[in-house]
């Protein structure tokens, strides 16, 4: 028998187990970046409306979301060039957030320009879509608290369907901090710990 083959098999099994553990703690930066970008966009709308500032412009969103996509695509490509094996869980998480990003961009830019969706429907819709992404992510991570974030997004979305004024934007901004940026930091610090 070839000893080398057996060792290779063992190394493979060990690698799969370690990779799976590491992949769960991998990200965090994307959550933080997108959370902050959307928070800034929402605050620019809110402050622009309340204080009659020129910040309430669709171009603010074009710049913020454009920047978010450039960062995301750049990090996806740089990861593809890295030599380490990408785990199954990491691939799924990537596809979850890529799919969610495409959906939110269609709703945010194309649906609103068609006139079918009004501005006040945007936050509750985004919140509902984010709930889907968090629920799947929670299943991938096998984490109850991440699944509870999905519940937070869905409940927030339902509530915002009934709040048809500018306060809705402020609520969405706060949800973005509480249910996206803070969890992002939790992922980030736990991944740092895991890497050590």
């Amino acid at each position: 028998m070839d000893d080398r083959t057996a060792i290779d098999e063992l190394v493979f099994i060990r690698k799969v187990i370690e990779d799976s553990k590491r992949s769960v703690a991998e990200n965090g930066k994307g959550y933080i970046l997108w959370g902050i970008l959307v928070f800034l966009g929402l605050m620019s709308v809110y402050l622009g409306y309340v204080f009659k500032l020129p910040t309430n412009s669709p171009w603010v969103w074009v710049v913020l979301i454009g920047f978010g996509w450039i960062y995301t695509l750049a990090s996806v490509f740089s990861k593809k060039h890295e030599k380490h094996v990408r785990t199954f869980a990491a691939k799924i998480l990537n596809s979850v957030w890529l799919g969610t990003g495409v959906s939110m961009t269609i709703i945010g830019f194309i649906a609103t320009s068609s006139g079918m969706i009004n501005g006040l429907a945007l936050s509750p819709l985004m919140s509902t879509v984010l709930g889907v992404a968090y629920f799947i992510s929670g299943t991938v991570y096998d984490s109850k608290w991440v699944k509870l974030l999905a519940l937070g997004w869905w409940c927030g979305g339902i509530a915002m369907f009934f709040i048809a004024n500018i306060i809705q934007i402020l609520i969405m901004a706060l949800m973005m901090l509480g249910l996206q940026v803070i969890p992002g930091f939790i992922f980030y610090f736990s991944s740092k710990k895991e890497m050590k």
Partner: protein, 209 residues
């Protein structure tokens, strides 16, 4: 136990050790991909939605006017009851796999989101009734995109583009024909894939038997 001790141990034949390792590796790889899924949900939901879309379309075209919301208030709970029943039945027949759990999460979450949009969105008029179909298409697109990656089947993932493009088109169709287009999208991007998945499931089951 070190790798060398493990390989040279008296109690274990070396050939058996390698076979065991290869078996474990095979199981790990298969478990990642194995999704015991019969596709019945795809077919059942698509038929329900087509019935809803076409009945709304026909009633409207024939001048039969009432609150069409009630059609959906009957159809959607039927869909949820069937999905829960089908999930329980599958769990009884097959041990749950990681991929199977993920697929369940994807469609469960997408279903919750579409139910919120369809039933709660229009209550206060925040969502226009005509916007429900395109939004549902966009959510379906995401669900298919992720499902394709989970089962590592390209054509299933590519259905997402059909849903996303269909959704974009529907955002610009403000007439009653939107319902007919949605019914067609449902047939091509949900019923037919559901039938293909069901056939493959049957083949797998026959092969296993």
């Amino acid at each position: 136990m070190s790798e060398n001790n493990f390989l040279n141990g008296d109690s274990m034949n070396e050939k058996t050790a390698l076979e065991e390792l290869q078996f474990i590796r095979k199981i790990i790889e298969e478990t990642k991909k194995a999704v015991i899924y019969n596709g019945k949900d795809y077919i059942f939901w698509s038929i329900l939605v087509m019935v809803g879309m076409l009945s709304t379309y026909i009633f409207h075209m024939r001048g039969v006017h009432f609150n069409y919301f009630w059609i959906w208030a009957v159809l959607i709970p039927i869909g949820w009851i069937f999905s829960i029943y089908n999930r329980i039945k599958l769990k009884e027949k097959h041990p749950s796999t990681y991929s199977g759990k993920l697929i369940g999460a994807v469609w469960g979450a997408a279903g919750i989101a579409m139910t919120i949009v369809g039933f709660i969105g229009p209550v206060k008029g925040t969502i226009n009734y005509m916007a429900i179909s395109p939004i549902a298409c966009i959510i379906m697109g995401s669900a298919y995109f992720v499902s394709g990656k989970i089962v590592e089947v390209k054509w299933l993932g590519n259905l997402s583009f059909g849903w996303w493009i269909g959704g974009i088109i529907l955002f610009f169709v403000t007439s009653i024909h939107s319902f007919l287009i949605m019914a067609l999208l449902m047939f091509f991007f949900q019923t037919l894939p559901g039938i293909i998945i069901y056939k493959k499931y049957k083949q797998t089951m026959t092969a296993k038997a």
